[in-house]
Symmetry: C3
Subunit: 438 residues, 3 copies
Amino acid sequence: MNHRRSTDVGQEMYGWLKDLFPIARSITGPGVRESLAYLRRLIPDLVVHDVSSGTQVFDWTVPDEWTIRDAYIADEAGNRVVDFRKNNLHVVGYSEPVNAWMDLEDLEENLYSLPDQPDAIPYVTSYYARNWGFCLTHNQRKALSSGRYHVIIDSDLKPGILNYGELIIPGETREEVFLSTYICHPSMANNELSGPVVTAALARWLQEISSRRYTYRIIFIPETIGSIAYLSYNLAHLQKNVVAGFNITCVGDDRCFSFLPSRMGNTISDDVARHVLHHMDKSFRSYTWLDRGSDERQYCAPGVDLPIATIMRSKYGEYPEYHTSLDNLELVTPKGLEGGYTALRHSIETLEQNAIPRTKVLCEPQLGKRGLYPSISQKGSADHVKAMMDLISYADGSCSLLEIAIRINKPFWELIPLVNELVKNNVLETSFVAGEEL
Amino acid sequence: MNHRRSTDVGQEMYGWLKDLFPIARSITGPGVRESLAYLRRLIPDLVVHDVSSGTQVFDWTVPDEWTIRDAYIADEAGNRVVDFRKNNLHVVGYSEPVNAWMDLEDLEENLYSLPDQPDAIPYVTSYYARNWGFCLTHNQRKALSSGRYHVIIDSDLKPGILNYGELIIPGETREEVFLSTYICHPSMANNELSGPVVTAALARWLQEISSRRYTYRIIFIPETIGSIAYLSYNLAHLQKNVVAGFNITCVGDDRCFSFLPSRMGNTISDDVARHVLHHMDKSFRSYTWLDRGSDERQYCAPGVDLPIATIMRSKYGEYPEYHTSLDNLELVTPKGLEGGYTALRHSIETLEQNAIPRTKVLCEPQLGKRGLYPSISQKGSADHVKAMMDLISYADGSCSLLEIAIRINKPFWELIPLVNELVKNNVLETSFVAGEEL
Amino acid sequence: MNHRRSTDVGQEMYGWLKDLFPIARSITGPGVRESLAYLRRLIPDLVVHDVSSGTQVFDWTVPDEWTIRDAYIADEAGNRVVDFRKNNLHVVGYSEPVNAWMDLEDLEENLYSLPDQPDAIPYVTSYYARNWGFCLTHNQRKALSSGRYHVIIDSDLKPGILNYGELIIPGETREEVFLSTYICHPSMANNELSGPVVTAALARWLQEISSRRYTYRIIFIPETIGSIAYLSYNLAHLQKNVVAGFNITCVGDDRCFSFLPSRMGNTISDDVARHVLHHMDKSFRSYTWLDRGSDERQYCAPGVDLPIATIMRSKYGEYPEYHTSLDNLELVTPKGLEGGYTALRHSIETLEQNAIPRTKVLCEPQLGKRGLYPSISQKGSADHVKAMMDLISYADGSCSLLEIAIRINKPFWELIPLVNELVKNNVLETSFVAGEEL
């Protein structure tokens, strides 16, 4: 597989993220379409689908489409004291149109701020109950003097469509690796723009490589309603074909790595993710299913049960800037994005190459006659072939390379060159469980 | 189920215990019958059975019946220096009749005292080898001057009967929950009178409630020989019908909670007991099968293997007053008894309601449209529905409510109202594994 | 089984070890034959086999036979500054003949010493690539002045034979316990002479005892090539018959005990070894398969998979004197050898007596009527029958005595007299899984 310089990838993704950052996304509306259009320029094969408002998708109904053009609170002098044009978090997502004068006292119940984070604008939405409101920093709020204010929300809430993007990259078999990320949050960087840009970079890499064992199904959806809609149309196909996958979110800051398992925590995706993170960051944070909060809630729901795990940097809900205006272009860095990308790419490479090796000789092979072993046996001299011998010693045909890598506590990606050398020297053979050819 | 005020229950049980305390019980004889008669006044459906002396019950033979009327050691002046009428622990259980004058020197070998607990009268018995003796405090013993003493034990040891009480409370199915407690110890409070009084209170509660899924088989027996005799008559029935049960002993002091598992520790009774105790007392003491010492020795013996676990306050053999006159009405308290009662009642309620829930919707249900979810999504606002969502997320039809309660670390009894609400809202359905109807 | 005084066994083994110590062993040649001849005087039934040089054994070829007669480095004055006659470690194993004058500078690349252990002569070999060299202490090396040296290695390297010894001690069944030790190292004591002398003592003990459930297959082989050759001739037989076994090495010092498992760590040999070591030395060192380094590499290789575990004192590779001249007659002691012997003998006795006990009575047996229980029940009086009752309580026919010993945390060898007493008293019966009779 071909490797572009990782610093390039980090910078490239950061550039896309900066471009996408200002767009006023929500679960429906022009912001999503504008974002998908940008992504299509990066991945021209991306297909944009739409679902009509009112469509029943399992237990849910696709809501009306929301268009937001402007929103502000102006004082009696006409000064915009809270202004959507300065930060699109200022308006509660899915706010209905408002044009009214009111006293501060009455306005208060539609204001949202965080006393503990007085410089942060919170992110608030009300998708399924008609409502309106403004989010502002607590310092802004405290500075409001009593008096009358002009409240304007220039929005539409009416039947329309919900959009999502889908990309299929065919591989040698019909078995699929499923990657899902979301595109419904306004100007926040780690949650969520890191997800779409890392996913876009992975898609570009997957399209470049010469061969893929698996078919890749990659979707860019609004969170929750999007994944539910997607599942409602594709569940049978996904349950038949998907062998592994990841929900890609919060992969952009550079504080730590985090892991959130599938519902039962026992899929190949879980094993791969734990292995990769263990070797990238010995102290990565391991959460449980009880800490879930993103689209794994749908993908791993009872009766859906797709093998989807989640690799993150700082997990949603766990870092102070989460769902506020402080989740910005400083929190996310090229290096942070590159770490998220690398962890997912290692995971995909592990899935692709996770063959079952089997030794072709009984007893230990004589590595010396193959030039793979030092001819002089002196105290300590055999250390550098230990990984090779350990690998062979578990190559009994009962376990995969990943299982062996876990047992001998070596990164999967360091074993691949050893396997290749041993196969070339007729010591090992490898096989995949057969997948149906495409 | 109906709830009487727990302080009432504690006081009520403590009152019964005080009434039963003075009776000179042993494994046979008038003391057992008097105690069973008292219990029949509390639970009129209690049936008293008898087994003749000499009856072979598995490896054991029911011993002769023992009647004790009086016992004392008098000095030459006729003063009773050790007197059964002051404390029925003073005579060794199953002492044969004695009427003799003897020197202190000769008397010594039939005296039992505890040098480390000089104010405690030990509890000593000799059921299966003819013997006699007196138990006294070490201080009493040290005060005995040399000289001659008149030793009187006015007892009978002759063929008669062994008694036990049995109560069947029918439920909707033939499947049985088995509760066993013992009534063979003279004046000691935690071990054993706490057992019969808590069991009597549970029986009265079970008779009051409107419906019972299970049939309840409740026995009051002399320890060891009684449980062996009961098993010898009922083993096939018990093995066919008993699905869970508890040996009820040492449930009256208020120092701690204790758990002793079944032989393999893997029955539903074990799971329920561990769960209930974990949520009533995070630091409850968990013993192993190697620490056993009561009738679980018979109920869980190889080839018997009933699913019986033991929930206790301070475990027999582990508290300093055990098997002495210090295990008295001060050691046991209304609050202590109420704790024992509550732990067992929670356990029984858990068994009764341990259905298998299954979600009726694919993906997450939309709780909002059912009024079960806050309509505004703000940082932290979803916390109070977390238990409900966690419950649903495991309701895949593969695991019971108890298993879910353990996974999500919530008390079973806090999940029941959530389940009821979700069933009412058509989100969940529940089912029991079918039991044969009565 | 008969017990000779353990101090005698320790001294006897130490005496044999001293006799064998000076012999210049290698994987082939006169040193091996001389050592096997000595062992045949201890165990006359030992059969010595030979395999011709050039024979293909799995992935390996039996090498030429090596004879070493003399080897030295002399200075220009004819003084032997490095002399094989002083210590046979001075010559690199399998050195080809040399007779040459050379400058110190040129000689250097054929010298081996250990800067960190300046008084130790390292042990170096080159079996499968033609080479020659001298090993010396680092202090010796530093003392060499520049100038010309006469280098003499008087050796042969030519087609011959590889020898090994094999002893079969028949038992009541065809099922075999396999013991393997190696005889290819020159003058070193813990690794390896402790192995052959402890194995010889075990063989003599096994031949003396009156009955053996298992047949014992005991081999003395050169390490690696010897075990591979032996497996290549006997694999089918071994896989059919061997039920347990041990690789016997490093059993002579008295610092600690060590355990190295089979490849999967789940054979009866592993269970027995862990149990015996736990009760001989609570802090024994437990290694993993990744720490392997002796013939278990062949016996447990994928596709071979014999149930072979390793019990050691200080493990090869882990003690500072390993593979140097400091692994000498001071490192190994009679007491150390006796400890290794005892651990292996306990292991073999455990295998021999590991029956499945089953209680013959339902509920607890009445030990009292059999004189196995104190007739007076007083606080604490029942403690001494606890092990007996625990054993009975697990004798449900589903688990072996070893499994019970592990559960109740008592040494297997302390349970045997209890089992015998309970069988005599008709409380227990025991059975072995049938093995094919010899």
